[in-house]
């Protein structure tokens, strides 16, 4: 991304506008992602357990391995793309401040752990479902926070 070469993005109305729209769409994506997951795969432990392992009392079938792997590989791609794009913008507009670097580290590590624990939950044990939920929320909240902070820094800092 060549915009990283510009000296001061905030003083450039063109780049500020392009980044604002990008951040807006990332923000919408993050909200929609939680909403769609809530009504399909699940975002809370009980829902996710039902999806992964099924529930005989509710006559729910467990997700098949092929469907799970399809979901997992899409998650890996979108996590990676969202986080790399967002952190590039965030680190650039925050001038790589200490707080921004810590937040990006937290987001990256929690996203990686959420993907790992999801895999372990399906092929390992139910124990990892709770960890997946926690890490998934951490990276989503971090991403929402950093996109809002980037907006603030673009216009008000």
């Amino acid at each position: 991304m060549r915009f990283t070469l510009i000296k001061d993005i905030k003083q450039d109305p063109f780049m500020r506008l392009v980044l604002s729209f990008l951040l807006l769409f990332i923000f919408i994506y993050l909200g929609s992602d939680l909403f769609v997951k809530h009504s399909s795969f699940g975002i809370f432990p009980l829902q996710i357990s039902n999806t992964l392992y099924g529930d005989t009392e509710q006559f729910l079938d467990a997700i098949s391995a092929s469907l799970f792997l399809e979901f997992w590989h899409t998650e890996i791609f979108f996590c990676m793309m969202i986080l790399f794009t967002l952190s590039t913008v965030y680190l650039r507009v925050s001038k790589a401040s200490k707080g921004a670097i810590i937040l990006v580290h937290v987001m990256m590590i929690s996203a990686f752990l959420s993907l790992l624990t999801l895999f372990l939950a399906y092929y390992g044990s139910n124990f990892f479902v709770n960890f997946y939920v926690i890490f998934n929320f951490i990276w989503h909240i971090g991403a929402v926070g950093s996109s809002l902070d980037s907006f603030k820094r673009l216009y008000f800092a």
Partner: protein, 122 residues
């Protein structure tokens, strides 16, 4: 091509795609179905627009390109979110969906041409 294959790029084809069509065995799209469908597009379209537009920054077209940024992102928004209104029965948004998609693609090509022109001039 994928869109054309599903809707044949026509008013009726798009309407059938969202409302369903018994003769063509197309199931009507629910709100959740539309959300699932548009979710990857929200990010993919934004990234594509941003990547292509930000190269204009290094060309002489930079100052004149601000209305282009607004137009491209607004068209993108209409293209992505109009299916919700189509599924609510507002048929007018079929036209909005088709026009926004065509204009969006045309503007992307236009930006691409501007970039190629500025590369050749420099």
């Amino acid at each position: 091509m994928l869109y054309a294959q599903k809707t044949s790029f026509s008013f009726l084809g798009t309407l059938n795609y969202y409302f369903g069509c018994e003769t063509r065995f197309i199931v009507a799209k629910t709100n959740m179905g539309i959300w699932k469908l548009i979710l990857p597009h929200i990010f993919a379209f934004a990234l594509l627009s941003m990547l292509l537009l930000h190269f204009l920054l290094f060309t002489k077209f930079k100052q004149k390109a601000i209305p282009l940024v607004y137009t491209l992102f607004i068209l993108q928004f209409l293209e992505i979110f109009s299916p919700f209104l189509i599924s609510k029965g507002i048929v007018f948004f079929v036209i909005v969906k088709l026009l926004s998609l065509i204009l969006y693609l045309a503007l992307l090509i236009f930006v691409f041409i501007l970039l190629v022109l500025s590369m050749r001039q420099s």
